[in-house]
């Protein structure tokens, strides 16, 4: 199931504007025909754990500067697909891929791809907040230092900018030297987002970022995604379909390793084309 920048549906949603998503959209015919730019392109891309094909021949264009949600039942391959984008699956010895997965025209699994640089440009936030047992400042400065930034003034600027982007600055600006583990779960998760933003990535991968958070902290993360929309390409894996419908521009539905449907979120949640999608999102799944 491929959704390209040229397809009618994606062009419609993609042209809603890269910055803020408008709640009241103009009629389809009045929208610009320009689609988004493909940022990550999967072509016949499969992921195997040993002999088991966990993700099967996915063809999809993930558009730049939009929020794409990935949904599906447990074990459908959605997290595996997400983790493949910054090669987190490399840590699993039996995992290998076939087909191609391109990022800005470069093969992510190419011979000469530097994973460290790739992960600088494609940041990731996990299900459970995982700050380092260091100060708030050092958590954020960790990535820039790793990439050679040592000037204290520049580091301080990066820390402030990143925390502001993650809407955390006002809450922690007076205690940057305190241990990050002392923050609440929601604050820790936003700190992890800030840490990912500190190295100025192009893409943010969010793997169930709110499943360990309470509703208030969840709302803050969703607000943060809204703030970041248009500045970064964001992919979010979520089990919460209301969250997918609230925050994303496009939605991918995976089932048993297949990308069953990939469509603008507003279409997928009102009039899905595939019966399996329909059954899953309406809870009629057996």
């Amino acid at each position: 199931m491929q959704m390209t920048a040229e397809s009618k549906d994606s062009a419609g949603v993609a042209s809603q504007g890269g910055a803020k998503r408008e709640i009241f959209l103009p009629p389809d015919r009045e929208r610009l025909k320009e689609g988004g730019t493909p940022h990550v392109v999967a072509k016949n891309f499969s992921i195997f754990y040993g002999d088991f094909e966990a993700v099967k021949k996915v063809n999809a264009d993930i558009l730049s500067k939009y929020v794409t949600a990935i949904i599906g039942p447990s074990g459908c391959g959605k997290s595996t697909f997400l983790r493949a984008i910054n090669r987190m699956n490399d840590l699993i010895p039996s995992c290998h891929t076939t087909g191609t997965l391109m990022f800005e025209g470069e093969d992510i699994y190419g011979k000469y791809t530097d994973e460290v640089l790739l992960r600088k440009r494609i940041g990731m936030v996990f299900q459970k907040p995982n700050p380092f047992p260091k100060s708030i400042f050092d958590n954020i400065a960790y990535g820039p230092r790793l990439h050679g930034v040592n000037d204290k003034k520049i580091l301080a600027e990066i820390v402030e900018k990143s925390l502001r982007k993650a809407v955390l600055w006002d809450e922690v600006s007076d205690r940057l030297d305190r241990n990050a583990l002392g923050l609440s779960g929601g604050q820790q998760q936003r700190l992890c987002v800030a840490r990912a933003l500190a190295v100025e990535p192009d893409i943010l991968l969010l793997d169930e970022p709110t499943s360990a958070l309470d509703p208030k902290a969840t709302a803050k993360i969703e607000d943060l995604i809204e703030e970041l929309r248009g500045s970064y390409t964001i992919l979010i894996v979520t089990h919460n379909m209301q969250q997918a419908s609230r925050v994303s521009d496009h939605t991918m539905f995976f089932y048993e390793g297949d990308l069953v449907e990939y469509a603008p979120t507003k279409h997928l949640f009102t009039n899905p084309r595939d019966q399996v999608t329909e059954d899953y999102i309406t809870g009629r799944f057996s």
Binding site: M241, Q242, S245, F269, T270, N271, P272, T277, E278, I281, T282, G283, R284, S286
Partner: protein, 228 residues
């Protein structure tokens, strides 16, 4: 697979809608009978029945809103609830129009009214209501399209009443009031047809996910009907 409680709930809401449609049809049928022959119900009875329809409409709307807020349905479930909400409003308006017909009956000269094809118009409108609800129950696209087609027939008959009234009302010695009554009744039946067409279009939305109101040719048709 057995339905989950949430889907049983949607079925209950659909059943409530069908009960309202039965009440509306009964009132409309009564109004037609009273117009064409005699009906033993009084205007008071008809108004009481309409009050009951109104209360049911509000109750069903409240239930749908609560369902939307608590269950946050998507896809077919969302379309079903939206369709129920919209059909509910149209049925309530059909109920009101039936009362309007009943209200004009004391002014009716039955011999004069017999010159018009209100029996036929009423039968078509009634069939349209029945078929549109049937289309909703069975999610029957073909039946819904048939209802839309029937509305054109009803519109033509309504225009004939107006044309005839417009030419004859100028003649000396005619009872102008009776023509006004005839035009009003014709208008009420035609409006019932319009609401039924809306119901059929909501069913088309439910089945296909496409909103078919105000689509190709509908504006031109409206302009043409105004010219006619």
């Amino acid at each position: 697979m057995a339905d989950r409680p949430v889907h049983e709930h949607i079925k209950d809401l659909s059943k409530s809608l069908i009960i309202i449609s039965d009440k509306v049809l009964r009132n409309f049928d009564g109004a037609l009978k009273a117009l064409l022959s005699a009906d033993d119900r009084t205007l008071q009875d008809v108004r009481l029945a309409d009050d009951e329809i109104d209360a049911s409409e509000v109750r069903l709307e409240e239930q749908c809103l609560i369902f939307l807020a608590l269950q946050q349905p998507v896809a077919r479930d969302l379309r079903t609830i939206i369709t129920i909400l919209k059909i509910n409003t149209d049925l309530e308006r059909i109920g009101d129009l039936a009362v309007h017909i009943y209200e004009r009956i004391p002014d009716v000269d039955s011999e004069f009214i017999a010159n018009f094809r209100f029996g036929e118009m009423g039968a078509i409108a009634k069939e349209m209501v029945q078929k549109s609800i049937q289309a909703f129950v069975n999610k029957d696209r073909k039946l819904a399209e048939e209802v839309c087609f029937m509305d054109e027939q009803l519109d033509t008959m309504h225009r004939e009443v107006f044309k005839r009234a417009a030419s004859e009302i100028k003649l000396a010695g005619v009872d102008t009031n009776q023509y006004i009554v005839a035009m009003s009744i014709s208008r009420y039946i035609e409006r019932i047809g319009d609401h039924t067409t809306r119901i059929a279009r909501e069913v088309l939305y439910l089945v296909t996910g496409e909103i078919v109101r105000h689509t190709e040719g509908s504006f031109e048709k409206l302009i043409q009907s105004l010219k006619d």
